[in-house]
C-alpha cells in the first residue's frame, strides 16, 4: 500500500501549481484592489505560447520558461496602461467587467488560433524521467513544480519584506497619493505589479502545460480553484495563499481517492464552511 504517499505527492504538485496561479492573482488584488478575471486566461496564453515554442524549437522547455513570462509581462503592462487605467475612474464594477471581457476575448482567440481541442506537451530529459523518493518511483516533473512554487514564493516574500522595492510597494498600497508626492512614480509601480502578476500567470502556464494538457477550458478550471484559494486563504494575503493552496491541493488529491464522485464539490464545500465560520478567510484582515 503506497497509495497514500503517492497521492500526498500529487497533492503537493497541484498545490504548487495552484500557488503559482493564485500568488499573482492575490498580489494584484492585494496591491491594486483589482480582481483580475483575465489572470487565468493569461495563464492559458502562457501554456499555449509554451506549446508553440516547444513545437518550433523541439523541446526547449527552459527557453519557453524564460520567454513566455517575458511575453506575458509585456502583455500585462500594455493591458494595465491602455485598458485598465482608462476604466479605473469608473469604479470596481467596470474594472471587473473589463477583465472579464478580456478573459472572454483571449479564450476565443486561443480557440481560433490553436483550435478547440487538447494539445499534449511532452517533456523530455531529466524533468521527464522518474525518481526514487520515500520508497516509491515518482515523476521528477511534479517535484519540480513544487520546488518552483517554493522558489517563487520565497522570492516574492523576500522582495516584499526585505527590499526597498517592497517598501515602496507596501507604501503605495497604504497611501498611494502620499507615496506619489514623495517622488515615487506610483502609476508605474502599479503597472509593474500588474505586469508581474501577468508574468507569474505565464510562468504557471508554462509549468502547467506538461502536467495537465493544454486546452481552452484550462483557464476556467484553474480560475475557480485559484478563486477558492484566495477566498479560503484570505483576500490579498500571500501567506494565506500558501496555506490554502496546500490545503486544496491535498483535498483535490485525496478527494479523488476517497470520494471520486464528490471530489469537485469538496473544494466548494470547504469554501462554504470557511465563509460561514470566518468570512474574511483564514488569514484575511477583517473587512
Amino acid at each position: 500500500m503506497n497509495e497514500i504517499p503517492v497521492f500526498f505527492l500529487h497533492g503537493l504538485a497541484y498545490a504548487g501549481l495552484l500557488f503559482l496561479v493564485s500568488a499573482g492573482l492575490t498580489l494584484v488584488f492585494g496591491m491594486m484592489n483589482v480582481l483580475n478575471f483575465a489572470h487565468a486566461a493569461m495563464y492559458m496564453l502562457g501554456a499555449y505560447f509554451s506549446y508553440s515554442i516547444m513545437m518550433h524549437f523541439t523541446g526547449q522547455f527552459w527557453l519557453s520558461l524564460m520567454v513566455c513570462p517575458a511575453i506575458l509581462f509585456i502583455i500585462g503592462a500594455l493591458i494595465e496602461r491602455f485598458l485598465l487605467r482608462r476604466v479605473h475612474k469608473f469604479g470596481h464594477v467596470q474594472e471587473l467587467l473589463l477583465t472579464f471581457g478580456l478573459a472572454y476575448i483571449i479564450t476565443e482567440l486561443v480557440k481560433w488560433y490553436w483550435g478547440n481541442y487538447p494539445l499534449a506537451v511532452n517533456i523530455g530529459g531529466f524533468l521527464g524521467s522518474t525518481i526514487q523518493i520515500i520508497g516509491i518511483t515518482y515523476p521528477v516533473y511534479r517535484i519540480f513544480i513544487f520546488l518552483c512554487a517554493i522558489f517563487v514564493g520565497t522570492v516574492m516574500a523576500l522582495i516584499l519584506y526585505k527590499t526597498r522595492l517592497g517598501i515602496i510597494l507596501r507604501a503605495a498600497v497604504n497611501d498611494s497619493e502620499m507615496t506619489n508626492t514623495l517622488g515615487v512614480n506610483v502609476p508605474l509601480v502599479f503597472m509593474g505589479v500588474f505586469a508581474f502578476g501577468a508574468a507569474l500567470s505565464g510562468f504557471a502556464g508554462v509549468i502547467a502545460g506538461p502536467l495537465l494538457s493544454t486546452f481552452p477550458g484550462m483557464a476556467q478550471e484553474i480560475l475557480l480553484d485559484a478563486f477558492v484559494v484566495i477566498v479560503v486563504g484570505g483576500f490579498g494575503s500571500l501567506g494565506g495563499a500558501v496555506v490554502a493552496s496546500l490545503l486544496i491541493g491535498q483535498l483535490q488529491s485525496f478527494g479523488v481517492l476517497l470520494f471520486p464522485k464528490l471530489s469537485i464539490a469538496l473544494v466548494y464545500l470547504l469554501m462554504a464552511v470557511v465563509l460561514i465560520i470566518k468570512p474574511s478567510g483564514l488569514f484575511g484582515e477583517e473587512q
Binding site: 488584488f29 484592489n33 483589482v34 480582481l35 485598458l83 482608462r86 476604466v87 469608473f90 470596481h92 464594477v93 467596470q94 471587473l96 467587467l97 473589463l98 472579464f100 471581457g101 478580456l102 472572454y104 476575448i105 476565443e108 482567440l109 481560433w112 476556467q220 475557480l224 478563486f227 477558492v228 484566495i230 477566498v231 483576500f235 464522485k261 469537485i264 464539490a265 466548494y268 469554501m271 462554504a272 465563509l275 460561514i276 468570512p279 473587512q287
Partner: protein, 331 residues
C-alpha cells in the same frame, strides 16, 4: 417620470406582439419567443447590476435551476399541469436565492462577484455529475404539457400558442419588474446603492432589502429559465453554465444598465446577432467580446445611452438626470 406615457408604450408593445404571429414566419417567431424569454432574464440581471450595483457572475445558477426543475418535474410527475411545472421552478429558485443570498451578501464588490462565480461553478458541477437526475452532458428532453384554464385546455404543441403564452406571462413579469422599480422597495434598493450609510441611518435594514432583492431577481431568472425549458422542450447543462451568465451579462451591458429597457434591447440585439453572425462565422463570440470590451471602455451606458444621446440631439429633450449614473431617471 411620465407614468401615462410609459403605460401607453407597454400596451402598444403588447398589441404589436399580439399581431406578430400573423406577420412573422415560424423561424422568426421562434426567435422572438427566445428574445422575450431572454429579455426577462436580462431585466432580472439588471435589477442587480444596474439598480443595486451588485455585479453577479452567477445569475445563470437561478436560470438553470428553474430550467432544470421544470424539466425534472415534467418528466417525473406524469400529468403535471403547465402552471405547476412553472411554479415548481420558481419556488425552488426562491428558496435557493434566499439561502445563497444570505450566505453571499455579506460580501461586496469583487468578493461578491467572485463568490457568485464560485457558486455558479458548484451548481454546474452538480448538474454535470448528477447524471441520473439532470441527464449530465446529454441534457433532458420534455414535451410541453397542455395549458388547462379550468373550463378548456389549449394545446401547447403549436409554436403560436406557446408564443402567446410567453408574451402574456413573461411580458407581464417584465412589466412587474418595471412596477417593482417604482415601489418603495425598488427605490430603497436604488438609494442604497447611492448612499448605504445614509439609508442605514434613516432606519432601513439594508441587509434585508438586499436579500429580498437578490431572492426576487433569482425567482424572476428562475421563471425565465422555466420558460426556456418549455420553449426549447430541452434543457442541457449549458443553461446553468458560466457561459449563460456571460450571455446575460453581455445582453444587459450591451443594451445598457442605466435604463430599465436597455437589457430588453440588449437581449434583442444579442439573439439577433447570435442567429445571423453564427451563420456567417464561427467566431461570433469573439465579435461579441470585442463589442463588449469596447463598450466597457468607451460607452459604459450601452446602446440605450447612445439612443438617449441621439434623441437629445434630435429633439433637444433635456433629461434632468441625463449625465448621472444608472437608472436615476426612474426615481
Amino acid at each position: 417620470m411620465k407614468q401615462k406615457n410609459t403605460s401607453f408604450i407597454i400596451i402598444a408593445l403588447f398589441l404589436a406582439g399580439a399581431f406578430m404571429p400573423l406577420i412573422l414566419k415560424q423561424y422568426h417567431l421562434n426567435m422572438l419567443t427566445e428574445i422575450i424569454i431572454f429579455a426577462l432574464f436580462a431585466v432580472s440581471y439588471n435589477l442587480l447590476l444596474g439598480y443595486a450595483g451588485l455585479l453577479s457572475f452567477g445569475h445563470a445558477m437561478f436560470f438553470g435551476l428553474g430550467a432544470f426543475m421544470t424539466a425534472v418535474a415534467i418528466i417525473h410527475i406524469p400529468g403535471l399541469a403547465l402552471w405547476n411545472a412553472i411554479l415548481i421552478g420558481v419556488v425552488t429558485t426562491i428558496i435557493a436565492g434566499f439561502v445563497i443570498g444570505s450566505l453571499l451578501l455579506r460580501h461586496k464588490g469583487a468578493y461578491f462577484a467572485l463568490l457568485t462565480l464560485a457558486f455558479n461553478a458548484l451548481f454546474y458541477a452538480v448538474a454535470t455529475k448528477w447524471h441520473s437526475v439532470t441527464g449530465g452532458d446529454d441534457g433532458l428532453s420534455i414535451t410541453r404539457p397542455d395549458l388547462s384554464l379550468g373550463f378548456t385546455s389549449i394545446s401547447m404543441a403549436s409554436l403560436t400558442h406557446f408564443y402567446y403564452l410567453t408574451l402574456i406571462i413573461v411580458g407581464a413579469a417584465i412589466v412587474f419588474c418595471w412596477y417593482f422599480t417604482h415601489t418603495a422597495m425598488g427605490k430603497t434598493v436604488l438609494l442604497m446603492r447611492e448612499n448605504e450609510e445614509r439609508m442605514k441611518f434613516l432606519g432601513y435594514n439594508t441587509n434585508i432589502s438586499r436579500l429580498l432583492l437578490f431572492t426576487f431577481t433569482g425567482a424572476v431568472a428562475g421563471l425565465a429559465g422555466s420558460f426556456y425549458t418549455l420553449h426549447f422542450q430541452f434543457v442541457s447543462i449549458s443553461a446553468i453554465s458560466v457561459d449563460m451568465t456571460t450571455a446575460v451579462l453581455l445582453m444587459a451591458f450591451v443594451g445598457g444598465t442605466k435604463t430599465f429597457w436597455g437589457p430588453i434591447l440588449g437581449a434583442f440585439v444579442y439573439i439577433i446577432l447570435q442567429n445571423y453572425l453564427s451563420n456567417i462565422t464561427d467566431r461570433w463570440p469573439l465579435f461579441m467580446g470585442f463589442i463588449f470590451v469596447s463598450m466597457v471602455l468607451f460607452i459604459p451606458g450601452g446602446l440605450s445611452e447612445v439612443i438617449m444621446n441621439i434623441r437629445q440631439r434630435l429633439f433637444g429633450k433635456k433629461d434632468n438626470n441625463g449625465g448621472k449614473s444608472a437608472a436615476s431617471e426612474e426615481v
